[in-house]
Amino acid sequence: MVIPLHVSGNGGIAAGMRNLNAGSGGADEGEPRFLREEDEGDDPVVGVSAVAEAEGGLGAFALADVSVSYGRDRVLEGVSMDIPAQKVTALIGPSGCGKSTLLRCLNRMNDEYGDVRVTGTIALDGQDVMAKGVDPVELRMRVGQVFQRPNPFPMTIFENVAYGPRTQGIRARDELSAVVEESLRGAALWDEVKNSLKKHAFELSGGQQQRLCIARALATKPEVILMDEPASALDPISTQQIEDTIAELKSTVTIVIVTHNMQQAARISDLTAFMLRESLDRPAHLIEVGDTKHMFTNPDDPRTESYITGRFG
C-alpha cells in the first residue's frame, strides 16, 4: 500500500504512520506498510514499523507554520514544533495564548467549533492530519483527549470506558471487559472500582471521574492523549494521582498537556512550549520550545523567564 503524504523537514519525526483512511481501524503493526514522500525530488520508500521502532514508537507530531483563525480573527500564528513520541509535552502560557486552540488542532476538534480555519502542516507520524482524505473520526481514535472538567457520560463506569471500543465496533462482551480492565488499570483506577463497574459514573469523586475520563480515552488505544488542564478542577491529592498516572502512561502514549500550573509543567513534562499573545491586535505565537529543565532553569527568551518566574500571566 502506498499512501502519499506530507513529510515535514524534521527527518527524525517523519516516522511511521498508519493509514487514517482505512476503515479497518489502523494498521497491523507486525506488517510493514510503505509510504512515500510527496516532496519534489526523490521518493524514498520506508518501512514504517521499522522506523517507528527505531524512533521509539508511534505518536509523534510535527507542526509546521500552524496558524488558526476564528472567523476573521487570527488567534494563533506560525507555530512550528515537534512533539516527540512517548514523552510528555507541556504547553504553557497565560490565558488566551492559544494553548487550548493549538491542542484542539491536533485531533481536529476545531472542526467542531464552527468558523475555525487552520493552516500549515500538522503531521502525525508523517501523515498530514489536515489532508482532505483524513477522516477526523479515525484521527480521534488515535488522538484521545481529556478535558478540563471531568466529563464522564451519564452512564455506568463500565459503559463510559466501553464507549470508545463500542464506537470502533467491538461488541463481544469478554473483549470489552478486557479493554475496560486494561484501560482502568492504565488510569490507576481499577483497584478502586473493580467491584462497582456497574455503578453510575457520577457516584465517583471528581478525581476518580477524571481518571475515568483518562481510562475512557485510553480504551480506544490511542497513540497520543491530549490533556487540557486536566487537574485544574481537582484537589491536590487528586492532582497528584493524575500526575502519577501521566508519568506511568508516557511509556506507552504520547501526552500533550496544557497547564496553568508552572510547578506541574516542571514536574511532569519532558518538553515545554511557551506561548504568548502579547496584544489582542496580534495573534499568539510560540515563543520558545525546549527541554523542560532547560526552559525552567535557563530559558532563551526573556519573556519565558518573566512568565515562569511569575512576573506576568
Binding site: 479515525e138 483527549q145 478540563q148 457520560f153 451519564p154 464506537t167 453510575h200 475520563c213
Partner: protein
C-alpha cells in the same frame, strides 16, 4: 443615614421581598388545590364502572362516556404519533445541526409564530386544509393533524431546550473518542436530555388532549353510539363533550359533566405520573 440604619433598612427590604415572592409562589398552590379540589368534589360522584364503560344516554344527561374517552385517546395517540417524531427531529436539528443563517432564523421565527396562533385559528385552518383540501373529511386523522400543528412548537422548543442544557463538553468527549455526530446524539445527548424532552412533550400533548377549538370543526361530534373504528371516523372527545353539554343540552347533568372533566384531568395526570415514574426508574437502573 448611619451604617446600622442602612443595614436595618436593607434587611427590611430583603424581608419584604421574601414575603412578596413567597406569597406569589404560594398562591399558585392555592389555585391548583382549588381547581383540582373543585373538579374532584363535583365530579367524583359520577365516577363508577358504568360511567366509564357505557355509552351516553338521553343526549348525555345519563349513561356513561366510554366513546368519549376512547375518542380522546385515539385523537391524542394520533397526535402523539405525528408530533413526537417530527417535533423531536426538528428540535435535534435546531440544537445540534442548524447553522447560524437565514434559513435557521426563518425556522425559529415560524415556530414562535406557530406557538402564538390561537387554537380556534388552528381549528379553521384544519377545516380548510385537512378536512376540505386534503379530503380527510371530519375525522380523527384531520383532528390529529390539526392538533399536531398546534403542538409541534411546544415539542420542538422543549426538545431544543433540553438538548441545549446538556453540557458542550459531554458532546466533545464523545466526538473526541471518534464518535460521529449521530452516535454522539443517539448515545450521549439524547439519553441525557430525555427527561426534559418527555416532560415537554407530555405538557404539549396534555394541552392537545384538552383542547376543544381545534377539533370543533375537524371531526368531533356531539353524539356517537359506538367507538370510532378507523382513522377516518368522526369521534366524541372529552373537552368537546363538556362544551357541548353545557352549551347545547337543556337540563344538562352537572355531576356527569364534572365527572367528564375529572376523567380528562385524571387521565392527563396518570400519563404524567407514569412518565415521571418511568424517568426515575431509568435513573435508578443506571445508578444501581
Amino acid at each position: 443615614m448611619s451604617t446600622s440604619a442602612r443595614v436595618r433598612s436593607a434587611r427590611k427590604a430583603d424581608m419584604t421581598a421574601r414575603v412578596v415572592t413567597g406569597v406569589a409562589a404560594g398562591s399558585i398552590v392555592a389555585v391548583a388545590v382549588f381547581v383540582l379540589g373543585y373538579i374532584v368534589y363535583h365530579g367524583i360522584g359520577a365516577i363508577d364502572w358504568t360511567f366509564l364503560t357505557s355509552i351516553p344516554k338521553d343526549q348525555g344527561r345519563a349513561g356513561g362516556i366510554f366513546p368519549v374517552i376512547m375518542g380522546t385517546v385515539f385523537v391524542t395517540a394520533g397526535t402523539a404519533a405525528l408530533t413526537l417524531p417530527i417535533g423531536v427531529f426538528a428540535g435535534i436539528y435546531l440544537a445540534e445541526y442548524a447553522p447560524r443563517n437565514f434559513a435557521t432564523r426563518a425556522i425559529r421565527l415560524s415556530i414562535t409564530n406557530m406557538a402564538g396562533v390561537p387554537s380556534i385559528v388552528y381549528g379553521l385552518f384544519g377545516l380548510a386544509a385537512f378536512v376540505l383540501l386534503a379530503g380527510f373529511g371530519r375525522s380523527i386523522i384531520a383532528a390529529a393533524l390539526t392538533l399536531t400543528c398546534m403542538t409541534l412548537p411546544v415539542v420542538i422548543t422543549a426538545t431544543e431546550e433540553a438538548l441545549r442544557q446538556i453540557p458542550a463538553d459531554l458532546r466533545q468527549a464523545s466526538l473526541a473518542l471518534g464518535a460521529t455526530r449521530l452516535r454522539t446524539i443517539r448515545k450521549v445527548v439524547l439519553p441525557a436530555a430525555a427527561p426534559g424532552i418527555i416532560t415537554g412533550s407530555i405538557l404539549g400533548l396534555a394541552r392537545a388532549a384538552g383542547e376543544t377549538a381545534p377539533i370543533l370543526f375537524t371531526g368531533a361530534v356531539f353524539q356517537m353510539r359506538r367507538i370510532p373504528d378507523s382513522p377516518t371516523s368522526q369521534f366524541m372527545a372529552l373537552p368537546y363533550h363538556v362544551y357541548a353539554q353545557v352549551t347545547s343540552v337543556p337540563g344538562w347533568n352537572r355531576t356527569l359533566v364534572w365527572g367528564t372533566a375529572l376523567v380528562l384531568v385524571a387521565g392527563i395526570s396518570i400519563v404524567s405520573i407514569l412518565a415521571a415514574a418511568w424517568r426515575s426508574a431509568q435513573r435508578r437502573r443506571v445508578t444501581w
